[in-house]
C-alpha cells in the first residue's frame, strides 16, 4: 500500500486538480477500520505491483476500473430502468447520429434540423435500431442513475444537471442548447452494472465521493449547496445496434435548461 500511497501523493502534489481524486482512493481502501471500502485487498495488491513499473499512476488507476477488472469490483443489482442525462447536442451527435463506426460530416452538418423533431419539452420513444451511436464512450465507464425513493422525477434541466453533477462540458453545452436530454433504457439491455468506486471517479476536479456505508450504488456530490445528488451505477457502454437486439425503444425526455436568474 505504501508504494501506491506515495505515487498518489506525488501526483496530488504535482497536479492539484487530482487532489480530491487521490483522497477518494485513499479513503476507499478496505480495511478492518473501513469494512465497506470498495477497493478490496487483491485489487490494491495489483495496483501496488503496477507502481513498481513504468507508466503514470493515473493510467494504473484507469487500468483497474471495473471495465478491465470486473471480478475485483462490486456488481450492483439489476434495475428495471436506468437513466442517463446529457446536453442536447451531445445526444444528437454521439447517440443518434454517429458512433465510433460511422461518424459523418454530412450528418453532423444537419444537427439543427433535429430541433424541430426533438425540441425542449418533448418526450417519447425512439427506436433503438435507428440510433447509430452508443450509450456512452466505448472505452470508458457509462454512468447511470435510477429511480430511488429519495429522488423525485426532475422536470427542470438545470436542477437535474446539478443533482447529477454533470461536468462543465455538459453543463455549458446544455446551457447553449437550452435543453438537457434524459435517456431511459431497460436495465437488462445495459449488461452487468457495478457500484462505482474511487477508480471510476478518478479524474481532475472530481465531485465523486466513494460510498462507504455498504450501499449497492455510488453518488457524485454536487458542488452547489442544496443538492443531494442521485444514486449512480456504472456499466460498459453499448452500441445501440447491440441494444436493439433486446430492446426496441428507449424513452427520451428533453428537459428545458434555463439558469436561474
Amino acid at each position: 500500500m505504501q508504494k501506491l500511497r506515495d505515487s498518489l501523493e506525488a501526483l496530488s502534489l504535482g497536479d492539484n486538480s487530482f487532489r480530491q481524486a487521490v483522497e477518494n482512493v485513499l479513503a476507499d481502501v478496505r480495511s478492518d477500520e473501513n469494512p465497506h471500502g470498495n477497493l478490496a485487498p487483491n485489487l490494491i495488491s495489483l495496483l501496488e505491483e503496477c507502481c513498481d513499473g513504468s507508466g503514470s499512476v493515473e493510467q494504473h488507476v484507469w487500468d483497474h476500473q471495473f471495465l478491465q477488472e470486473p471480478l475485483l469490483h462490486c456488481s450492483s443489482p439489476l434495475r428495471p430502468t436506468l437513466r442517463r442525462a446529457m446536453a442536447w447536442r451531445w445526444f444528437i451527435t454521439y447517440q443518434v447520429l454517429s458512433g465510433s463506426g460511422a461518424p459523418s460530416a454530412a450528418d453532423e452538418s444537419e444537427i439543427d434540423a433535429w430541433k424541430h423533431r426533438l425540441p425542449a419539452g418533448r418526450c417519447g420513444p425512439l427506436e433503438t435500431r435507428t440510433l447509430l451511436g452508443r450509450t456512452g464512450k466505448e472505452d470508458r465507464p457509462c454512468w447511470w442513475t435510477f429511480d430511488h425513493p429519495d429522488c423525485t422525477v426532475e422536470e427542470d434541466g438545470w436542477c437535474y444537471a446539478h443533482q447529477l453533477s454533470l461536468g462543465p462540458s455538459d453543463i455549458e453545452q446544455a446551457r447553449l442548447d437550452e435543453a438537457l436530454v434524459e435517456v431511459s433504457i431497460h436495465g437488462e439491455s445495459v449488461g452487468p452494472i457495478f457500484k462505482p468506486t474511487s477508480l471510476e471517479g478518478f479524474w481532475p476536479y472530481t465531485l465523486f465521493r466513494p460510498e462507504l456505508t455498504g450501499a449497492d450504488h455510488g453518488r457524485t456530490v454536487p458542488a452547489e449547496p442544496g443538492f443531494a445528488g442521485r444514486p449512480e451505477v456504472v456499466s460498459a457502454s453499448q452500441a445501440y445496434s447491440e441494444v436493439a437486439k433486446t430492446t426496441e425503444e428507449i424513452e427520451v425526455r428533453i428537459l428545458p435548461y434555463r439558469e436561474p436568474i
Binding site: 451527435t93 460530416a105 452538418s109 444537419e110 424541430h116 435500431r129 435507428t130 464512450k137 462540458s169
Partner: protein, 323 residues
C-alpha cells in the same frame, strides 16, 4: 490550464482573427496532444495546454463544438467565420498531405458540425477544392465514378472527402447540369458495383449512402421515383450477411425525414417523384415490398406514397335507401 481558460483563449483567437495560433490549437486538440502550444499575447508567450477529457466528455472535438455554439450566438459573425476558415484549411491540408486517417476524420466532422455550408465565402471554395480533389487528387487511373473499386485506405480517404463535400453542398443548389449528371453517374456506378458480393462491404455501402444523399439534394424527384427502391433492394439483398446494414439504412431514412421536416420545399420536390411505375411494381412485388414500405415510412412519406401508388377504390356513391 482549466477548461474555461482554454475556451477563453480559443474564443479570443477566433474573435481577433489570428489564424496561425488558432490552427495550432485546433490541430493539437483533435490529435489529443497534451503538450502546450505557445501563443503570444502582446509581449507575453503563454503555453496553452489542451484540457483533459472530463468524465462524460464524448471526444476531443466536443469542446470545439461548444466553441462553435458560443460563437454562433455572437452578433458579430467574424469569430465564427475565422473558426470555420481555420478548420477548413486544416482539413484540406490533412487530406492532401495524407495525414493519419483518424485525424482527417476528426477534422472532417468539424467541417460538418461547424456548418461551413452556411458560409457564403467558404462554401463555394470548399466545394470546388474538394471536387477537384475527388476528380484528380485521388490519383485514380479510372473515372471517379468507379471510386468504389478502390480498397482500403484510399477508399476511406475518398469517402471522407465525399462526405465533407456533401456536408457543404446546399439543398437544391443551382449547379450545372454537368455536375448533376456526374453525381448521377457516381450513384449509378456505385449501385452496380455494390451489387457484386465482393464489393458489398461496409465502407462501400457508406459511400453509396453518401452518393444517394448527394443526388437527393440535387434531384429529389428522380431519387424518389427511382433510387430509393433500388437502394432498398441492395440493402435487403446484402443485409443477410451484414445485419447492421438495415439499421444503418433505416437510420439514414429517419435522418432524412427529420431534415425534410426542416425543409418543406425539398420534401415536396421529393414527394412529387414517388408515384413512379417502378415504385408501384416494387410495392406489388413479393420480394422486398415490406422493407421498401418500411423505408418510406421512416422517410416520413408513406402516406403520400400510398395515395399515389395504391389509390383506394372509390367509395360507391351513397344513395338514399329510400327516396
Amino acid at each position: 490550464m482549466t477548461r474555461a481558460e482554454y475556451m477563453d483563449v480559443l474564443l479570443k483567437l477566433a474573435d481577433d482573427g489570428r489564424p496561425a495560433p488558432l490552427k495550432l490549437l485546433i490541430a493539437a486538440r483533435v490529435r489529443g496532444q497534451v503538450e502546450p502550444v505557445d501563443v503570444e499575447f502582446g509581449d507575453v508567450t503563454v503555453g496553452v495546454a489542451s484540457p483533459p477529457l472530463e468524465r462524460d466528455e464524448p471526444d476531443h472535438n466536443a469542446i470545439l463544438y461548444t466553441a462553435f455554439s458560443i460563437l454562433r450566438k455572437e452578433p458579430d459573425a467574424r469569430g465564427l467565420e475565422n473558426l470555420r476558415r481555420a478548420v477548413k484549411e486544416l482539413f484540406l491540408a490533412a487530406l492532401e498531405e495524407e495525414e493519419d486517417l483518424a485525424a482527417v476524420r476528426m477534422l472532417a466532422r468539424l467541417v460538418g458540425h461547424l456548418r461551413l455550408v452556411d458560409s457564403e465565402e467558404l462554401r463555394p471554395q470548399l466545394l470546388n477544392q474538394l471536387y477537384a480533389y475527388l476528380d484528380m487528387g485521388l490519383g485514380l487511373d479510372r473515372p471517379f465514378e468507379e471510386v468504389l473499386r478502390l480498397e482500403g485506405e484510399p477508399l476511406d480517404r475518398a469517402i471522407v472527402a465525399f462526405d465533407v463535400w456533401l456536408s457543404v453542398l446546399p439543398i437544391l443548389p443551382d449547379l450545372s447540369q454537368h455536375l448533376a449528371a456526374k453525381i448521377k453517374a457516381i450513384l449509378t456506378k456505385s449501385c452496380g458495383i455494390v451489387d457484386a458480393p465482393q464489393f458489398a462491404l461496409e465502407r462501400q455501402f457508406s459511400f453509396l449512402f453518401l452518393a444517394f444523399r448527394a443526388f437527393t439534394k440535387l434531384k429529389p424527384a428522380d431519387v424518389a421515383s427511382e433510387w430509393v427502391g433500388e437502394v432498398c433492394r441492395l440493402v435487403a439483398k446484402h443485409s443477410v450477411s451484414r445485419p447492421n446494414l438495415k439499421g444503418r439504412w433505416l437510420a439514414a431514412c429517419q435522418h432524412q425525414d427529420v431534415v425534410f421536416d426542416a425543409n418543406p420545399k425539398w420534401r415536396d420536390a421529393f414527394v412529387r417523384g414517388l408515384g413512379s411505375n417502378k415504385n408501384r411494381q416494387r410495392l406489388q412485388g413479393v420480394n422486398g415490398a415490406e422493407f421498401f414500405r418500411e423505408s418510406l415510412k421512416l422517410l416520413g412519406v408513406w402516406e403520400e406514397a400510398e395515395a399515389k401508388l395504391m389509390p383506394r377504390p372509390a367509395s360507391p356513391e351513397r344513395v338514399p335507401l329510400a327516396a
